[in-house]
């Protein structure tokens, strides 16, 4: 059984296999035609492939041969190039030789004909040839001797020409033949004599300069004292010198640049600078001699030694007015020097920028220029002049301000006195003058000096006047002031000493206040003036100026301290002694009203009405005599004193409900009055007092909770909880245990 079943399965398998084999065979048969066609195509292609291979091989060979021939061609080209260069060189040499011949022939004729330009041109051509090459060429050429002879001739001619040109130049200078001078000046560079040419030419120019300068100085010295330029004759001479120099540089720069090339201006300037230095020194010597500068400086230092304690002294040997003219001249001289130095710098630097491309080298050249200028007598004279100027200007400023203070006078209609206007006029004048000198260091120094004069001397005088105090006198102050005012108005002013001191005090206080404004205006105007006079300040210079100016504006701090000092004087001598009795009268009053007493009190003149009336008359006595801001300052002091004193007396009194009500009303009307007296809010100063009044005006103890705590209706308290409790205790109707029970 098992076998049969197995055999059947096997049979099935075989059958399946047979079927598959059939299928495959069928497939093969159908593919046969396709395959046959392919084979046919392939057998056709086969011979073509063979020829292809042959042809490819041929192509490779061709490329190889092309490469080789290209190589050989480029080789040939290189050789050709080389050959061409040699030909060119050869041509050059031939050219040189021909030129050499021509030049050597021409040069002698030219010299004989005195055609030095032509001769020099021949030499120049010769000098432009490569001398060593020339010698080598000579050995290559058959006609050695003729070439060498030509070289020799030209070398001789060159040295001959050099001598001739120098001689001719010197001769032209002697003859003052400007055309010939310029003619030979142009020949020097052709003979490779650039430095020599510039030196000689500059010496010539220097001589010319010297003549003119000496003539100018002589003329200046002979200027009669009545001449209107007499006071600035040295400045004029200096101006002429610099203008002459600048003209020389301007005229000759193109000439030098054309014939000598750019980059020569520095040496031109350095030659001219020597003569400039000599002339400046001469002028300065005569200036110092004729204007007696040394004598003046000695006098000034003598004076300052004698009165070293203060610059305001009685000894006056040199009138500052006499110095005014001299100082003016010095500033002109200084600014001329400054301008000339700037001119040279600008010219030379632009010449350097054209001729020196490398930055490093260029900076070096510029450094050299700076050294040249800084080491010159011109710079030294300029510095000496500035030093002289500063000494004189300082003396002028100090003495003039001291004079202004000494001649101080008060116009009755003015709040300030003449010394403020005068002092600031002088200081502005000095600073403006220093700005015209063109020196930033000078400007800064004068600003510093002005600071010193204002801070020490000017503020010192104001402080000294305030130190005298404000005498309150026996009379009631209001009355005293009214008497003073009416007598002033009627022009029969015979003020007593006390009144005079009072006026002086008030005026000094006002002077200090208006001076702060003057200082601020001065600072602003100086900054703009300097920026206009010296544009292009670098950041460092700007910083320097601003720092000195901030020193000047800091003078306002000193002035404010002076004002503060005066205000304290007023507080002690006027406000406090007046106010204390007025406020203290509060203590003598009853603050525990019955209804009847209240209406009676309100019908009569209440405490606050009297107080306001007194304050009003006190203030009105000052209102017109003080400047606005001083008046404000006075009111501030007054309010502080009144509120402090009132707080003290309130704390010493006891109140009932109606008493508290009245107090609250009175505090309000007092605050209202003082607010109306000023332009700013006084509420802040009244906060504590108002809060005290509010507490004393409460209905019940617990009502405080409406105002205390963290809710919307709460106040920002200036009083501590302990203070609140103490104040509540002043109400006779509040129970102690209720107050203690409060949670604050």
């Amino acid at each position: 059984m098992g076998n049969i079943k197995e055999m059947e399965i096997e049979l099935e398998k075989l059958k399946l296999q047979e079927e598959m084999v059939f299928k495959e065979m069928k497939n093969f048969v159908t593919q046969k035609t396709y395959v046959d066609a392919k084979i046919k195509v392939l057998s056709k292609i086969l011979p073509t492939l063979k020829t292809l291979k042959v042809e490819t091989r041929g192509l490779v060979d061709t490329i190889h041969s092309i490469a080789e021939s290209a190589e050989s061609i480029s080789n040939k080209v290189r050789t050709l190039d080389c050959a061409r260069n040699r030909v060119e060189e050869c041509q050059q040499r031939v050219g040189d030789l021909i030129d050499l011949g021509l030049c050597s022939e021409g040069v002698q004729t030219a010299i004989l004909n005195e055609d030095y330009e032509k001769g020099a041109a021949h030499v120049h051509r010769f000098l432009s040839m490569d001398q060593s090459l020339l010698r080598k060429t000579a050995t290559d050429v058959e006609n050695i001797s003729s070439v060498l002879k030509a070289v020799g001739t030209l070398q001789d001619a060159a040295s001959q020409l050099r001598t001739i040109v120098q001689l001719k130049f010197d001769e032209a200078v002697r003859m003052e033949d400007l055309a010939s001078v310029e003619r030979f000046f142009k020949i020097f560079p052709l003979l490779d004599m650039h430095d020599e040419g510039i030196r000689k030419f500059c010496n010539y120019l220097s001589e010319k300069l010297k003549d003119t300068a000496e003539k100018n100085l002589h003329a200046a010295l002979n200027t009669s004292a009545s001449d209107k330029r007499h006071n600035v004759k040295f400045a004029d001479t200096l101006t002429l010198l610099f203008e002459g120099l600048a003209r020389i540089i301007d005229i000759h720069q193109p000439l030098v640049e054309t014939y000598y090339g750019p980059g020569r201006l520095m040496s031109v300037v350095s030659y001219l600078q020597k003569e400039c230095d000599t002339q400046v020194k001469l002028i300065m010597m005569e200036f110092n001699k004729h204007r007696q500068t040394n004598k003046k400086i000695n006098q000034i230092s003598e004076i300052s030694k004698l009165s070293s304690t203060s610059s305001f002294s009685k000894i006056e040997k040199v009138d500052p007015k006499d110095l005014d003219i001299l100082i003016q001249e010095i500033t002109i001289m200084h600014v001329r020097m400054e301008l000339y130095i700037k001119f040279i710098k600008r010219k030379v630097i632009s010449d350097i920028e054209i001729s020196v491309p490398a930055i490093d080298e260029r900076n070096n050249s510029i450094k050299q220029l700076d050294q040249l200028i800084n080491a010159s007598d011109l710079s030294r004279s300029k510095h000496d002049l500035l030093s002289l100027y500063l000494k004189l200007e300082q003396y002028f400023m100090e003495e003039s301000v001291s004079k202004a203070v000494g001649m101080d006078s008060t116009e009755t209609s003015q709040q300030t006195s003449s010394m403020v206007d005068d002092t600031f006029f002088i200081i502005r004048k000095c600073i403006r003058r220093t700005i015209t000198s063109g020196s930033l260091d000078g400007i800064c120094a004068v600003i510093n000096i002005a600071c010193g004069v204002l801070e020490n001397d000017f503020c010192g005088v104001l402080r000294g006047r305030l130190r005298q105090g404000y005498p309150s006198g026996y009379l009631d102050l209001t009355q005293a002031y009214n008497v003073l005012q009416t007598s002033i108005q009627h022009g029969r002013l015979q003020p007593s000493d006390t009144e005079q001191i009072r006026t002086a005090f008030i005026v000094a206080l006002n002077n200090a206040d208006s001076s702060t404004e003057y200082v601020e205006t001065l600072c602003d105007s100086v900054l703009t003036d300097v920026q206009k006079a010296i544009p292009n300040l670098n950041t460092n210079e700007q910083g320097k100026l601003e720092s000195c100016l901030s020193g000047l504006s800091a003078v306002t701090t000193n002035l404010k301290e002076v004002i503060e000092y005066g205000m304290q004087q007023l507080r002690v001598s006027v406000i406090k002694p007046r106010i204390s009795p007025w406020v203290d009268s509060f203590l003598n009053m009853n603050h525990q009203f019955t209804e009847d007493e209240l209406s009676e009190y309100e019908a009569g003149e209440s405490f606050v009405q009297t107080l306001i009336m007194n304050l009003d008359s006190l203030l009105s006595s000052f209102k017109n005599s003080l400047t606005d801001s001083n008046y404000d300052g006075l009111i501030k002091i007054l309010i502080t004193e009144v509120t402090a004193r009132l707080e003290k007396v309130v704390l010493k009194s006891t109140f009932n409900r109606l008493g508290g009500l009245v107090l609250d009303k009175e505090v309000r009307s007092l605050a209202g009055y003082l607010t109306s007296a000023t332009t700013w809010s006084v509420r802040d100063k009244f906060t504590r007092l108002s809060q005290i009044a509010t507490i004393l005006n409460l209905e019940r103890v617990t009502e405080i909770n409406d105002y205390w705590g963290n809710h919307d209706g709460a106040l920002t308290w200036r009083l501590t909880p302990t203070e609140v409790r103490t104040i509540m205790n002043l109400r006779i109707d509040f129970k102690l245990e209720d107050i203690q029970r409060l949670k604050l």
Binding site: Q371, S387, K391, D441, C444, G452, G551, A554, Q568
Partner: protein
């Protein structure tokens, strides 16, 4: 508003060629420029340093030592908070001139100015002024004393930092209110110490 709380003016004085400019350059720029030309008039540099977490701006005025610039340089003494008097330890004449300089300082500077004596160029072999002589001079004139080398950057930082610290201390002690001021209206000004009553005793 600039970012500093204190501003101090420091002025350097002393004979020509003692190295004032080099000290300033070393401190402000970290450089030692060789072949420094003579200063003309007054030079001006600023450096902000930090002392106790506060920014301190030092305004350094480097004056020319040459006589002919004296009237320019003198005008800066009055507002100086600190004056550095420099001499060259290898050059006796620069030390011999110190009394003249002190006279000038007495005459023109505020009496409260902080004064520092500096012996510069200690890198040099040819010392002429022994340290103790400088110390002695400084002690006699109530000055702080330091020897420096701008070339080797020795004590330069210390010098200026010490000045900044001392000036700040002075300024702080002055900042306390002087009286119950009703008109304190010196607003926005950087604290400076024009008339500090703090004595400048340095040890």
């Amino acid at each position: 508003m600039e970012d500093f709380k204190f501003l101090f003016k420091v002025v350097l004085v002393g004979n020509a060629g003692v190295g004032k400019t080099c000290l300033v350059r070393r401190f402000t720029q970290g450089l030692f420029p060789p072949g420094q030309g003579a200063t003309i008039g007054v030079d001006f540099m600023i450096k902000t340093v930090e002392v106790e977490n506060e920014k301190v701006k030092l305004q350094i005025w480097d004056t020319a030592g040459q006589e002919r610039f004296r009237s320019i340089t003198q005008s800066y003494y009055r507002s100086a908070h600190a004056l550095i008097l420099v001499y060259d330890i290898s050059c006796q004449p620069t030390f011999d001139c110190l009394p003249d300089w002190l006279r000038e300082i007495e005459e023109y500077a505020s009496s409260k100015v902080l004064r520092i004596l500096v012996g510069n160029k200690i890198d040099r072999e040819d010392r002429e002024i022994p340290t103790v002589v400088g110390e002695d001079f400084a002690a006699r004139h109530n000055m702080y004393f330091l020897e420096t080398s701008a070339k080797e950057a020795e004590n330069v930082e210390k010098l200026f930092m010490k000045i900044a610290e001392d000036l700040m201390q002075q300024a702080r002690s002055k900042d306390l209110p002087r009286y119950d001021s009703i008109t304190t209206n010196i607003s926005g000004r950087t604290s400076s110490i024009s008339d500090s009553n703090c004595c400048s005793k340095l040890t």
